[in-house]
Amino acid sequence: MQILITALVLGGISAVLAAIISVADAVLNNYGDVKLTVNGSKSYTVKGGSTLLTTLAGEKIFVPSACGGKGSCGLCKVKVLSDIGPILPTELPYLTTKEKSENVRLSCQVKVKGDISIEIPEGLFNIREYASTVSTIKDLTHDIKEVFFSFDDDINFRAGQYVQLIVPPYGEIKESTMRAYSMSSQPSIKNGVELLIRLVPNGIVTTYVHKYLKEKDEVRLLGPFGDFFLRNTDADIIFIAGGSGMAPIKSIILDMKEKGIKRNAYYFFGARSKKDLFYLDLMREIEKEVPNFHFIPALSSPLPEDNWQGEFGLITDVVDRYLTEQGEIEREGYLCGSPGMINACITVLGKHKIPENRIYFDKFG
């Protein structure tokens, strides 16, 4: 009897509280239909209450987001024209002073509560979902795979941009997950994209690609996104990337080759030992065809059996050495890698008088 009462009381209290919360949720979070105006011209009638990012996705406008709306990547910035209240503490770390004054907000943190008017780059209308089929998977090194996703429609992107790979729930993972990967294929290939995917220990998407993904599998992609691409100047180009950071650089270089761009370009590729090197033959071939392109691989800790004759040391030291030898020339930096590597490279390039506004990078966290 006592047990019964206990269970009933506990269940009863929980049920009453749950009921209150659900009722409150239905009443308080119901903002009805609101009007969403994009770039002053297009307007949509949407249901209020969810975040701006989800609301926009519901209207097939895909704002870039590498973290999937958790407020940890800071990519989903959108300029809000209507007054939607002050900037939230969760947004602060990702906004610059200029962006704050222009009321740029993180769309994953902002809730749509009333009529709202926003401004987004026209390029975002270009972004769409591609239903792709995996046509080839190749092992480039012990932990990097080259995967080609082909689809029926054409994709238009600039060399250096990225797509989001959407991985369905598998094993212990109960939700579909998105991660950003740069295209390693050049834009002239329109019926698909090639991505380089490095296995990250415990990474949800990378584990899926390495352990589960097979040829002929169907996967969804979202894109293209990003503002990492070659600027149209005459300055010398310094590319620095290691590991799977090769992807956007390879795309840019192949694009340069096809378009016949003859700027001086140096690509510094950092790796630990010979087993982390890949695409050596491809790069040597491009070096022959594009006279002003130089590929400089460097190993930081080559093994004795590697028998390594090339550059030796940390990639930042190698870059430093080269730039010192060449003297002062007008240069631009293009970097792709981890935040730590990027910051170290910016310091080295800064030492050689390359201003920060001429260093472009793709940081993956």
Binding site: V9, L10, I21
Partner: protein
Amino acid sequence: MGVPLNPFVIMVAAALTSNMVLSNFLGMCSFIAVSKDIKTANGLGMAVTFVLTLTSVLNYLVYYYILVPLELVYLRYIVFIIVIAAFVQFLEMLIDRFSPSLYMNLGIFLPLITVNCAILGGVLFMIIRDYNLMQSLFFGFGSGAGWWLAIVALSTMRMRLREKDIPPQLVGPGLTMIIIGIMALAFLGFSGMVPVQ
């Protein structure tokens, strides 16, 4: 039930002589983690005070009108936690809807409070000390205000010390623990001011 004590006296005692964090050492985790600057400390302090005041009353009603008559007093811990969690959830939605500016200030701290032991501690003290409804209300508010006062005081000290030359071994939690210790000693000076616990 019911100690013949002025609720106002209980409030002052809860805020100063038996301060929640400096005499009872409850709610230490957020006390240390969220005291880096005064703005956030203030927000959390406000949220704790608010929730502590209202959950004291709410749990008082649940305890004396449901648990005691049904002889289910041993369920109090789990019931209190459920009530606190549900209440915080409800409060968050309510504030979000009706006062966006308050939500901006409290917003991210409200969910944190669910697991703040100062809240559960306050509720349990109220039961142990046999307070009546009015006393519980003032006790809840007093405890919260005391916690608020302590975290704001700590955060201002930490902000001042940020600019100072501190031995590297002490930077961060080390120095914070020392400050809290000294603050606790200072608050000991209040004891004897009010003759209750």
